[in-house]
């Protein structure tokens, strides 16, 4: 992992909150990656499975699919932010506690 070579922080000892946030970011990245894999598989891969290689059409489709997915990700993120970022408390199940 590239980050092991860098020495950014200065203090010693683990700050639980900083680690917590990094773990949450990792989980988020994994979640997005898995949804991306699943969505683009549904959009681009024929389920006849006549061969094990990606054909030209599938490969091109995947690249465009990823690109569009990230654009959707950006648009949705902007939309949520424009709504004042009140979403975190707005539509969760805990709003009803």
């Amino acid at each position: 992992m590239s980050f092991l070579g860098r020495s950014g922080g200065s203090s010693t000892g683990v700050n639980p909150e900083r680690v917590e946030m990094a773990v949450q970011e990792l989980d988020m990245i994994t979640d997005v990656f898995n949804r991306l894999v699943s969505s683009c598989h549904a959009k681009c891969i024929s389920t006849r499975y006549a061969e094990g290689d990606l054909n030209k059409g599938e490969s091109v489709c995947i690249d465009r699919c990823v690109s569009k997915f990230f654009e959707v990700n950006k648009r949705v993120g902007e939309k949520l932010q424009s709504m004042g970022g009140n979403a975190p408390s707005g539509q969760s199940a805990f709003g009803s506690l």
């Binding site: 949804r35 979403a87 539509q91 009803s96």
Partner: protein, 91 residues
């Protein structure tokens, strides 16, 4: 939910847990929304850029999903309130 049987330390702990879960819930809702609206709106992969029609669809999909969730949340809260007022508290 009823946290009244908890002492102050436990309540403080729970409010931290809830805060963390709300963040996780929000992130999960965000990526779920992206996946949902992408799947519903993007079906043409002859181009790598979103068409204006797709973009409009994504905006409407996001809008509608949030309003949908909000409405469900309101009904959900009513239901829980109703249940708590009829069921005697467990002590």
């Amino acid at each position: 939910m009823d946290f009244s049987s908890m002492n102050a330390a436990e309540q403080a702990h729970m409010s931290k847990v809830i805060e963390k879960k709300q963040m996780q819930d929000f992130l999960r809702m965000y990526s779920n929304l992206v996946e949902r609206c992408f799947n519903a709106c993007c079906n043409d992969f002859t181009s790598k850029a979103l068409s204006s029609k797709e973009e409009q669809c994504v905006m409407n999909c996001t809008d509608k999903f949030l309003k949908h969730s909000e409405r469900i949340g309101a009904r959900f809260a009513e239901h829980n309130a109703e249940r708590e007022s009829t069921v005697p508290e467990q002590h």
